[in-house]
Symmetry: D2
Subunit: 339 residues, 4 copies
């Protein structure tokens, strides 16, 4: 922790700060500058809140040196975390493309979708049973019935599934249906009770970045899950909110790089929700792979025009297949592979 004193801070004020630091087992060094007095405090500063310090008289600002996340940091664990989902690895040299419809709708839709996923060469399937919608009047998902359908398809096609958990009260049902990967959506990235609960299972968790979460907050949300005992966490960048209105969200391509540098967790990208438009999915997917993403989460629907949710961003099965082929070429260009 570095404490910058006001220009006119008194010796008494400096003494109070030093006392406070010492009380928190930090060792203080007072440096007399030309314009300011700066106090350096070394030790485990996680026990001390920078904002708290700033309430002391005479302090201009207090700057934290050590990052707040620990268990999810690369410093804590150098090697890439590889997560094994029923034999499919996420976070290794091989890149995984997860395809499937935004929402589970009917057995027929799911069956055709699953066939499309398999024939495109993907080894994991997505599908939403519970849908977070901005409007209470929009389709909210099939619920438990959707989970059952997903599971059926999963078994039939040997495709591990990923689906979103919104309500903490549904966790037991998710475990009962043995969902393979639990998705925490962007709106729930800081639903801390939900994070703690999935942290108490051993299920792989895809943690989507909040709509305007900093990378640091995203990693702190992951830390909640890890701190509760579950380090099977996959980070998912899905675009953030900015002033631009030409597309749905701004895909933060740099976040892939930063998250992978700061953390050992795998990072996947959702190019469908980023752009929010079918025609953007392919290029955003290829860019994500070139930037180092460990996987993709792609909306695909047998008949986008009939989709009950996010119709405008779903690929057709044949478009997914074509995306997988193109992804393979780019992956190989940077020394990685696809199944």
């Amino acid at each position: 922790m570095i404490i910058v004193m006001n220009k006119d801070a008194t010796q008494a004020q400096i003494d109070v700060v030093v006392t406070e630091l010492t009380a928190h087992n930090l060792q203080a060094t007072v440096m007399q500058g030309t314009e300011r007095i700066v106090i350096g405090a070394v030790g485990d500063e996680r026990s001390l809140d920078a904002k708290h310090l700033e309430t002391l008289a005479g302090i201009e600002k207090a700057v934290r040196i050590v990052k707040q996340y620990k268990m999810v940091s690369r410093e804590f664990h150098q090697a890439n975390k590889i997560i094994n989902v029923r034999g499919v690895e996420i976070g290794s040299k091989q890149i995984q493309i997860i395809g499937g419809p935004c929402a589970v709708e009917t057995p027929e839709q799911m069956d055709i979708a699953a066939k499309g996923v398999v024939s495109a060469g993907c080894r994991l399937m997505r599908g939403g049973a519970f849908k977070p919608r901005s409007s209470p009047y929009s389709f909210q998902g099939l619920g438990v019935q959707g989970l059952a359908l997903l599971k059926e398809i999963s078994n039939k096609y040997q495709l591990p599934i990923i689906t979103e958990l919104m309500d903490v009260r549904m966790l037991d049902t998710f475990l009962k249906y043995d969902v393979d990967i639990i998705q925490i959506g962007t709106r729930n990235m800081q639903n801390f009770d939900l994070l703690k609960e999935v942290g108490m299972t051993k299920k792989p968790v895809v943690l989507k970045r909040g709509m305007s979460a900093t990378i640091s907050e995203w990693l702190m949300a992951a830390e909640y899950i890890a701190a509760a005992g579950n380090d099977n966490i996959i980070l998912c960048e899905r675009g953030v909110r900015t002033f631009e209105t030409a597309y749905r969200n701004m895909l933060d391509i740099s976040a892939i790089l930063v998250a992978k540098r700061e953390s050992h967790l795998p990072v996947i990208v959702d190019p469908s929700h980023s752009g929010g438009k079918t025609w953007m999915v392919r290029d955003l997917a290829l860019a994500s792979i070139a930037a180092g993403a460990d996987g993709l989460l792609v909306d695909m629907h047998p008949n986008p025009r009939e989709a009950l949710c996010d119709a405008d961003q779903a690929l057709l099965p044949e478009e997914l297949a074509s995306l997988v082929t193109a992804s393979k070429t780019v992956a190989e260009a940077i020394g990685r592979s696809l199944p």
Copy 2:
């Protein structure tokens, strides 16, 4: 709904769009422009998703005309909604200042805080028993014990209380302790299951705006509560996330105006979390009142230096009293009053 066709849309594509609109009971009018064909669709367009339409071939964009929120809109209910909390009105000509500590800590702290709230002239008290914290290693609140403490103080000083509900499983406990106003925090603004559940009670709800929620999304979140049966909703602006780093959040003063024009619900402001700094609270509070806010939610702590949470933004009891006095003068300048 207005549908703008691509420059080179065919007659067949136009026909498909008209058929689709008609199928949704919308009446379509095709307008031949110099550069584009535009199709106007009138009727209850809530049944039709603009994005869904955009998946049809030949469509450049579809623009919604009617707003998605209905029950919380001023169109639906012209007069200001006034919410009565144990005799204290929110949303009337009288402005309410709600004071109290960010977190409930000890009986002594709460007792001094409550005395400060009363002597400042406030008629409602805030205090957090469950605290949403970015870090799992930060103080998470006293929990149920904090609720009990709050209730005790509430009874002793005849101060209706407001406190945050984070976990839907805690709602029954909140009802058991007869919390007067339930706060939904910024991180849970789109925790739709939580919104639906508080919507099934009759408790007044303070709905904080999400960190980067548009005003429209904020009103849609309120619509979730209203649609479930509870229209005792108080909107709370608390600053949004932007590129500026000189303070915590950017208080969106214009949101007060827009929310009150679009909706009949009362709008209050949290100047403490907006600026995130003690020295900013007073001026932001006065500006909010001048802009038309119906109330304020202000952090106050008997001893900010000892506060376990958000120490840097809490006022002292005497600062709160002074703020109330200043607020009264500004309120009267614009024709409103304080208790």
Copy 3:
């Protein structure tokens, strides 16, 4: 300057940093922490670029302690700067409201506008001769002819004028016409050559904040003017760009507070360009005054429907008069006054 070394920085890397700091006349103190080595550097760090330092091996980050602006800072000059424009003071206890049309159009329009300004009780007039427009096909202003018209009106009604300078080649013409206050628009806030040139005059300058400039960058832009020799600078907050689309720009009410705390320069607000809608002007104006603004810049047009520019945000003369009356009441509520 505080330098945080990487976790695994070597002694040799530390030595290089210390040598570099010493070479810049900074005194280095090496602090051994539990997780990191931190080096404190005291002295005039303006000679050293933090980013430059970060290129040295083994450095995680370098944090600047001293702010980069100097001449415009309150530290440099404690008392409020008061700027006298032909007898009208800006920055004193008295608040100035500057009214007038967005664009100078015709002698008749300007005459009616000036009468409206005077009868509303304003003592300064605005009017654009050169207009920055997003589209090359929009009205670009009357140019020099507009300046002449403005000057005529200025003389006739004894109203000092403010008008925008976009092209550095026009400065001499502005001086020839003896424009009273030169406005630097939001799009030119970092047009450094323009800043240097107006810095070489003694004319009062209104410096509008850039569309997404941080307060610190805004003050650095002011520093360019001050460093060139002109400290007659008035800062003007006019809203910034965010994700919200319900209005034109987000008025950053907190920026008023921060700019006035960090700098001794007067701060005025443009409530017209902030909201971009007539109905928002009044409430935003009152909020700005309550927050501590030293003045307002308000669009007024005798006949907004005929306005060639920003028609949707101009007040009628009678609305300006009513705004001035309301502003006076709020100003007095916070211990200030209006002419």
Copy 4:
């Protein structure tokens, strides 16, 4: 143009709107909906300002249908614009990587840099003679002397050069030194007088996107240049400003896609200024190529530690060479090439 009337608009108000539209040679169609009356107006709506219309009584909002840019749009010119710079094509299947130092410093530096550019396989060189710096106390570039140096190097190594023009008064000097490509920097994207002047030359112009410009505003800025007669315009995405602080700017990878779809102009990317950190340049560059960029603008310095500007983002000559090799592989993976 689509005009949505207020819920309670009167027939008289509707008539006024229709009259106004007709007066602008637009053909109006009134549609009676269940909740609103909507008026469709077809014809060349560029003559009518949506905001202007909104000042009429009874109008809720007016929505523009036709985009404002015309000459730079792909609708206007379907085929990709290819710009030939002394034999080097920008905008064709071949991707160009432009390398060189942020600032021209010394003959030695430039000589080594040029050798590095050539040996990396790049065919164009960058170098700043005039530098826009946030602080007046930072190095501002060598000015005209820098131009001379650049030209010398350009001749010696047969490398066409690109350099930034900040001050409109310097344009003649740029032409005299026969600069090959004129760069308009991010801070001057809406310096309309500068745009008009470079529009009157035939020189290729790199137009960097403004720090928080929408893609639409960026294209409108290009339209200024095109409307003045110069369509040799290269768009350059360089990251935008957001709330994220982990890096300098957020590279808007989606903007590449959208700009290329909306416009026929070539789009290049500056991965150096986007991330602002050396370690990010390579991955951002590869991602940009995968997303469809026509070129890159990359900071390279023979000795970054001695660089007078943006030292922290410059690659070494050997790193540039390695980047070019990697770029080639990715380019070929998507069916493009490098020289």
